[in-house]
Subunit: 458 residues, 2 copies
């Protein structure tokens, strides 16, 4: 391995002061929203074009220098951490919206474009990009981590919403995967291979995403339940009824208590569903009526409507603020977050077990979930730097994953692997892990792309 | 390479008379619905279990014997042809439905299960498996070719409807990809990699598919247009309006003339849309009203309703019978079929150009399409064995693909590559083709899986 200083010098010769060795810059780029300690790259290169990314990768590949791509740093399992140092390629400056094709329902963007920026830009078109992981993440990063969020139940995850990519391979070669056609059957699905590959196969430098019409009418509702099982049964029956839910979110008692305090709501402290309906005026009224009846059959009460835009905004802002609200229950605390995804029939037992385990622990815990997908999040309130508390959260979070895998589910529905969930991959994928390693080796024979993470199991 | 007879003898020693060298059996397995001449495997092995597929692959891999997986033989680009001979592994006998999880909206099946068989089985559940490529294909084959069809616009293709797979790799190793969770972000998307890989990476021995609730109400409609552009503009405006179309099919004048004759319909001979609405009673009425208004704005006339089940069945049977109906326009003829998929804004110009080219030719041609997806089919009526006619159809079909690629589309929306479209892959994928080759080599280093097709470009 050539010394890292040699690589940095070569990059500096090409890109000047857009290569930074400053401690503060490196720290910003070596830390995400996870609970892992920061792991700093040796330098950060702020790339301005595909061609620059290609040049930088060719240099790093020749020198066997690790490369980590960076968008906004809002990952939550250490996806952008640099356990082996190396060069962080920051693509946040590649933030142009290159084309919007209204008739084709797609947009072509650079990887640093953020989802709110795209939706602002689309405002006049009647179209939107619906994938919403909470953070205002970059679309490149959302693609790399296969992000989803509250409305994936209706509009899909990044898996369904990325049509095509431009990717720079580790040796600097530039490829295009997919086309603007909505479907294709001409070859291996390289687009889906890069979606969720967490920067371990190449750097995404352009993407084409699907857009969806903004619904003519939107309404929201809140419904509380005597039991979690009632809430989950409502979700299952709703989906069996064919009601095309736009959002169907579960919040447990702790989440509701926190929301009442933080967002000045006045909700009954009980297992609760936040619902959203998209359609025509007639359609959403009918949908809501059906769901209200289903909820009533399952012990739901106080089905409360939010038709006015400001009431809906207040409700979803409260959902959005669930994490700071929960932290406010224990001043000074931070949240240790995990997520898992299970077949929906196993959702209630998984959430109940997570709750029971947490209640036996000394940590305060909140559970919420994108329940239409069987995806739930468990957040443990820990004091930053308190190793005993973090270890306890890790222990509890491992239990969440173990139970999800036993139920035929997955170790993460949307947060990804990063460093935090590497340890569960063998258990989840078994012999298929060898295929992932073979695939990683085929694309990145020198192992420079985000090393020590996905694909580096040998 | 060990002699093929050695491989066959080893297989016979294990599986006895389930290994066949009979000419008729081999011919049946070396010919699909494409226009290619049959290319026979040296023997056919009728597999009964995953473990048997694994044993057979281990033998073939050790002997460097080509292997072709076979479901129903209804592919249309030569996907199951054996240009290098070898062993055809017929999995049609592996046709058990292993589990249906109603609450989770999924079913676990063996690869030989056919789509009609699954839907029969599901009848009492209120759920269905909607992907419908026309032929009553096996689900393993539909997965391998990334099949779709008329209602992909609403329910997605096999890409969106396969949750998990069991696959036997070329060396006989058995892996499982994906879980029953609806989404996951834990690793490379091996499931999507095998969907559409056309038997070139492994043999699918089990699959978990998504199910969808059968809608409470269904209605269909037919609308004729003064011009193709009017029909396409109607499709675009309909999708922008957010109407969740279940099917939106285009038939050109030739298709309508053929349907009138063959299915005793009385439709005006003009560019026509067949539409289907799924939802509640109120919902489908509202949807249809919206689409009728949009169609009227775009020169649509004679918006005719089919609410009764028998009228709808008659309409869709006519659409389904479009190919035999078209052949009946020229007694004794066969259809040479191609498909392409383009951004919807380019659909009208692509179809019009295909029509104009065909009209300058001596071949009679029909065009129809799954226009909500930008996918269209061009069928040339040729006399079997007439090489001049087949060459002319090939020339015209190549033009269809060339124009689709120029429009930012793909060489096939749903028929796949097989042997027929190999020649377009370089043009469509450019340098990404090297990644496909690398990927093929990583999974199948000995090149035994369906050789001479996808991934074998070097």
């Amino acid at each position: 391995m050539t010394s890292i200083n040699h690589t940095i010098s070569e990059l500096e010769a090409l890109f000047g002061e857009r290569v930074s060795r400053a401690e503060a810059v490196r720290r910003h780029h070596g830390d995400d929203l996870s609970y892992l300690p920061a792991m700093l790259p040796d330098a950060v290169f702020f790339a301005a074009s595909t061609s620059e990314v290609s040049q930088a990768l060719a240099i790093c590949n020749a020198n066997r220098t690790p490369v980590i791509a960076f968008g906004t740093g809002t990952s939550i399992e250490g996806q952008i951490h640099a356990p082996q140092g190396g060069i962080c390629i920051d693509v946040s400056g590649m933030d142009r919206i290159l084309a919007v094709h209204e008739e084709d329902f797609d947009a072509v963007v650079q990887p640093g474009v953020k989802r709110k920026q795209l939706n602002e830009y689309l405002r006049a078109t009647g179209l939107s990009f619906p994938v919403d992981p909470g953070a205002d993440a970059s679309l490149g990063g959302m693609t790399a981590t296969r992000a989803s969020g509250t409305n994936a139940v209706r509009y899909g995850t990044m898996r369904e919403n990325v049509l095509a990519l431009e990717v720079v391979l580790p040796d600097g070669q530039i490829i295009r995967t997919g086309t603007r056609a909505r479907k294709s059957s001409t070859g291996y699905d390289l687009t889906r291979l890069f979606v969720g590959s967490e920067g371990t196969l190449g750097v995404i430098t352009e993407l084409t995403v699907r857009l969806h019409p903004i619904p003519a009418a939107v309404s929201s509702a809140v419904c509380t339940f005597a039991s979690l099982q009632g809430a989950v049964d409502t979700v299952i029956a709703t989906m069996q009824s064919g009601v095309p839910m736009a959002r169907i979110e579960f919040l447990d008692e702790v989440a509701i208590e926190a929301a009442n305090n933080y967002s000045r709501l006045d909700l009954k402290v009980a297992p609760t569903l936040f619902l959203e309906f998209h359609g025509t005026e007639t359609g959403i009224a009918e949908q809501a009526e059906m769901v209200e009846a289903i909820a009533a059959e399952n012990g739901g009460e106080g089905f409360a409507w939010a038709r006015a835009a400001e009431d809906r905004a207040r409700l979803w802002q409260a959902r959005h603020d669930s994490n700071p609200a929960t932290r406010a229950l224990r001043p000074g605390s931070a949240t240790f977050v995990t997520d898992a995804c299970v077949p929906i029939s196993a959702l209630a037992e998984n959430i109940l077990a997570a709750r029971a385990e947490a209640d036996r622990s000394f940590l305060r815990t909140k559970i919420n979930g994108h329940v239409g997908d069987g995806n739930f999040h468990v957040n443990y309130l820990v004091m930053p730097g308190d190793e005993r508390e973090i270890a306890e959260a890790e222990r509890l979070a491992a239990g969440v994953v173990e139970r999800a895998l036993k139920s035929g589910g997955t170790a993460s529905g949307e947060h990804g692997v990063g460093l935090g969930k590497l340890k569960f991959l063998q258990r989840e994928h078994g012999p298929a892990l060898h295929s992932m390693v073979a695939l990683k080796q085929a694309f990145d024979p020198n192992g420079i792309m985000n090393p020590g993470k996905l694909g580096s199991f040998s």
